[in-house]
């Protein structure tokens, strides 16, 4: 079978992780931020699988399965939240979603 340099695989995983991180940091639309979180989870899963493959053990793949289940649960809850946010605020801009922040006294009361 093939032989790789371990560092190459880890470099690919870290590039993917950084791209996801840049996406989270620069985007304001909440759907794009969720997508970037998925990219980061996938990149960390790649690092796990590479480590498991290095030692010929199934543990890396098991860890990837757990990450997969966690990503599925997270996405389902997060997308339900996105639907509610869009329903209530008519926007996906994370800077508009500051209901918990103290508003100045000029904010209209009652709603």
């Amino acid at each position: 079978m093939a032989s790789f340099n371990v560092n190459t695989v880890l470099i690919v995983a870290s590039i993917l992780f950084t791209l996801g991180m840049v996406g989270v940091l620069t985007r304001k639309n909440i759907i794009f931020m969720l997508l970037s979180v998925e990219i980061m989870l996938n990149a960390s899963g790649l690092a796990f699988v590479a480590a498991g493959s290095k030692w010929h053990q199934p543990d890396g793949q098991v860890m990837f399965l757990l990450i997969l289940a966690m990503a599925a649960a997270e996405v389902s809850v997060a997308l339900a939240l996105v639907l509610q946010i869009y329903h209530q605020h008519k926007t996906l801009d994370v800077e508009q979603l500051k209901e918990l922040k103290d508003e100045p006294a000029t904010a209209e009361s009652g709603d």
């Binding site: 560092n7 990837f64 990503a71 639907l83």
Partner: protein
């Protein structure tokens, strides 16, 4: 096998770069599907066929379809793309991207200068994964079941459209 790995990881990185730079949500989602398929190819070349199949089925098949459904339900189209174009100015993304890229350069420098470890890839068959999953990791599997249950209940509860019934004195 090495060539497949290099080609598919280049595709994965390119497609991911396209994901975070697109304005239209559907375009970003389709590029992300391509990126996940390329990642599945990377897993296959690393000798993990089971994970490669799951990547295609669960990530590209289920999670991305969930995203596409939400984008369709919210009807995010050209207006969102225009808004994204307005939001994504140079001065917005330049700072965080440059800092993150510097960190990435550091990681790459560390990995590049590290000792040269080659790994001999041999296929870890699904049978070994299953034996490990239901052997020493059985508690983790059960906890994952709890997590998925909580995810389902949470999504069903949060996503429920409830009509707010106010008392007639509280109505405006």
């Amino acid at each position: 096998m090495e060539l497949l790995f290099y080609i598919s990881s280049a595709i994965a990185i390119l497609a991911t770069f396209m994901v975070i730079t697109r304005y239209h949500p559907i375009h970003a989602l389709l590029y992300l599907v391509v990126s996940f398929l390329a990642a599945a190819m990377v897993f296959l070349s690393l000798g993990s066929p089971f994970v490669a199949v799951l990547e295609v089925i669960v990530y590209a098949g289920a999670i991305m379809v969930l995203f596409i459904f939400v984008v369709m339900m919210l009807n995010l189209g050209k207006d969102t793309a225009l808004q994204e174009k307005k939001w994504l100015q140079l001065k917005v993304w330049a700072g965080p991207s440059v800092l993150a890229l510097v960190l990435l350069a550091e990681v790459i420098a560390v990995l590049w200068g590290g000792n040269d470890l080659t790994m001999q890839v041999s296929v870890v068959v699904p049978r070994k994964v299953a034996l490990s999953l239901y052997g020493e990791y059985i508690v983790a599997v059960e906890l994952t079941g709890f997590l998925l249950m909580a995810g389902i209940v949470g999504a069903a509860h949060i996503g429920k459209h409830t009509k707010r019934n106010l008392h007639r004195f509280l109505q405006k």
